[in-house]
């Protein structure tokens, strides 16, 4: 049984991961922006798994407020009696057009999806290493695989995050840290609700199954749905003059 802290547990992929871990019998602590939303998600999981009312703890933690991070992880530590797994699914998203038109939004997104995510992971990493290791699973994106027209800023933040996760794996693997970098392709969540659905779109439940399996196996890099590994392989190999022409 794992003791898991999930940031972004109330929505989308995070919600699905939390449910699946709970159904396996793991102990959970939920982090998210909105306290009443957190309470509803905790109750949902308790009822689904037949657990007592109030047995799943939660604390507000906003990826845009780095001051939240340490206290949130501390309260998770207290409630769970130490944790061995941290999952980060929270993040901001906006289309490239909007980000180009709204510099403030761009700054917020870059801060939340890269700088603050890394700061949160550092807090988590220190705590995991202090107890002799553990699993840090972070949702990056296939958008970080190559600079592309529709996801220049979002993709840049995710590329930074992917590199950070790879570095963690290289440096701390021997000390027992399992750094898992998940690269979802297009997933039909609320985050992508405004976008046209491309082929090979995934559902949150399927992505969560892949993530839970990767956490179990300590797999450092996961593409999900799996076909996106091959799609991105092709994209990475396309020459620059082609990338300038196409809209992908």
């Amino acid at each position: 049984m794992r003791k898991v802290v999930i940031l972004g547990a109330t929505k989308g992929i995070g919600r699905a991961i939390a449910r699946q871990l709970a159904e396996r019998g793991d102990a959970l602590f939920l982090l998210g922006r909105d306290p009443s939303d957190l309470a509803a998600s905790a109750r949902d999981i308790e009822i689904r798994t037949g657990r007592a009312d109030g047995s799943i703890g939660s604390a507000p933690c906003d990826l845009e407020r780095a001051d939240d991070f340490a206290p949130a992880l501390d309260s998770a530590n207290t409630v769970l009696g130490g944790f061995d797994t941290v999952v980060v699914t929270a993040g901001l998203f906006a289309t490239q057009d909007r980000l180009e038109a709204e510099p403030d939004l761009a700054r917020r997104l870059l801060t939340a999806d890269f700088a603050n995510t890394v700061v949160f992971c550092e807090e988590a990493r220190r705590r995991l290493l202090a107890r002799g290791g553990g699993t840090l699973c972070v949702l990056s994106s296939v958008a970080g695989e190559r600079g592309r027209k529709p996801v220049i800023l979002y993709g840049a933040a995710k590329a930074g995050l992917t590199h950070y996760m790879e570095g963690l794996d290289h440096k701390f693997h021997a000390q027992g840290l399992r750094a898992i970098c998940v690269k979802p392709g297009f997933v039909r969540t609320g985050m992508t609700a405004g976008l046209p659905t491309p082929p090979f779109a995934g559902e949150p439940e399927g992505v969560a199954r892949d993530v839970v399996r990767a956490i179990e196996r300590g797999k450092p890099v996961v593409y999900t749905p799996g076909i996106w590994r091959w799609i991105m392989l092709v994209i990475r190999m396309l020459p620059r003059f082609v990338m300038r022409k196409i809209g992908f």
Partner: protein
């Protein structure tokens, strides 16, 4: 908005197919704002969950799927509208709880179950799903969030049960679950030689069996017309049931659209004959898997592809008891006379009319035909509907894609009361669907 060229939506029957797309969020009340219709898992057959001609977006409820409370004493479960029956089945049946009423697929949402006021094999005992709903939370057309129940805003409640999502976006549903003695079903099935014997068998089984339904061969005519297999069931007691829990059934996928001849007249005739004669001996009694009882077709993933690219429609009607025992035969004769053939034909006796203003069932015999869409399908549906009108019956909107407005009105005078409630809550007809434009004459 973004360019969303080429995206289309359709119901389970894949006819019609209309331009449009779903908008998803966990926060239903927010995305419902300004949008004309909510849609769950899209298992209604025709255009019930499709946007009207000038609309493009419908709200998808599937991400709003949290269970909000469950009281193990009263059995009342409250959940967001997108929670699927599949999840309820998976989570609660092993714990000895189940929904009081289930339709023939578990890939439906609670919101959809309310909007269509679904019925099941136990209709003659338990009525529709709506009879077990204790409370609803709706986002009505003007943006207010309103609670309604059998005692609060009763008219809105009654119009929403079976109201095809046209009274407001259903946000939350509370209903009473039931205790079951085991997750297994004790089933008795019996071959029936013709439609008259079949209906007599259904009526005779009603008082003793909580679940009844049947499959009939609607290809054979004359003395064999309406022969088939009658299924009677009840939950197995703990003593009868196998000790192990029922394992999830293996799922097979129909990988692509079958060509049209696969479900042609010859194969339909062969299938119907085989299905009838493979039931040996005449009466079988056994313990069966709950999925085999309730959801036999859910094991065939994408089974609608068997009907080819042009899709299928289902015609489900109820012929009232007052029409007499001959009504079902007269109805089937209309079908066979036109050379219409149905791969699957399901028959069930219905109990009393429910709380919903537009709920489908009424005391009588319900017949559901799966029909591959062809050039002459609209004419066939017209002919079937004319027979239904003559017998004093009505059709089920959740299955329908072809019924004319004047036919529906002739079958269901309750439409006036339903429209009166809609006028109060949505005077400008902001909530609408392709079906409400077609059948109720809403502005497109």
């Amino acid at each position: 908005m973004f360019g969303r060229k080429g995206e289309t939506l359709s119901g389970w029957g894949r006819a019609p197919v209309v331009p449009g797309h779903e908008v998803r969020s966990e926060d239903l009340a927010r995305i419902a704002d300004g949008r004309p219709l909510s849609r769950g898992l899209g298992r209604s057959y025709g255009d019930s969950s499709l946007p009207a001609a000038n609309d493009r977006e419908v709200v998808s409820t599937v991400l709003a799927d949290r269970i909000l409370s469950f009281d193990a004493d009263s059995g009342v479960l409250r959940a967001e509208a997108g929670l699927s029956l599949d999840e309820i089945y998976r989570l609660f049946l092993p714990r000895g709880w189940f929904v009081p009423v289930t339709p023939g697929t578990k890939f439906v949402t609670l919101g959809g179950m309310v909007a269509a006021d679904v019925h099941g094999k136990n209709h003659h005992k338990e009525g529709c799903f709506g009879a077990h709903v204790t409370d609803l939370k709706l986002r009505v057309a003007d943006g207010r969030v309103v609670r309604c129940s059998p005692t609060v805003e009763r008219d809105l409640f009654r119009a929403t049960i079976g109201g095809m999502g046209l009274t407001g976006h259903i946000l939350e549903v509370a209903f009473k679950m039931v205790r079951v003695p085991s997750p297994w079903i004790w089933q008795e099935s019996e071959r029936m030689p013709n439609i008259e014997a079949f209906i007599a068998g259904l009526k005779a089984a009603g008082p003793d069996w909580p679940m009844t339904a049947g499959w009939i061969d609607c290809v054979s005519g004359g003395p064999n017309m309406g022969r088939g297999i009658l299924f009677k069931g009840r939950w197995a007691t703990a003593a009868e049931a196998p000790k192990r829990p029922p394992r999830p059934k293996r799922r097979f996928t129909i990988p692509f659209d079958f060509p049209q001849f696969v479900l042609g007249p010859l194969s339909i005739r062969a299938f119907n004959t085989l299905f009838y004669w493979k039931h040996i001996p005449r009466v079988k009694r056994r313990i069966v898997h709950p999925e085999s009882t309730f959801y036999p077709l859910d094991m065939l993933w994408h089974w609608n592809r068997m009907y080819g690219r042009r899709g299928l429609t289902q015609h489900q009607c109820v012929l009232p008891n007052e029409a007499g025992a001959g009504a079902a035969r007269r109805f089937l004769e209309v079908l066979t006379a036109r050379g219409g053939a149905s791969f699957l034909c399901v028959i069930k006796d219905c109990g009393p009319e429910g709380v919903g203003m537009l709920s489908f069932p009424r005391p009588g015999i319900s017949i559901a035909l799966d029909i591959a869409v062809r050039k002459d399908t609209p004419a066939l549906i017209d002919a079937l509907n004319e027979c239904v009108i003559k017998e004093g019956g009505r059709i089920y909107l959740a299955k329908d894609a072809f019924t004319r407005a004047e036919h529906f009105r002739a079958m269901d005078p309750r439409i006036d009361e339903f429209q009166r409630v809609r006028r109060i809550w949505d005077p400008n007809r902001r909530l609408r669907s392709a079906q409400s434009v077609r059948v109720f004459g809403d502005p497109a």
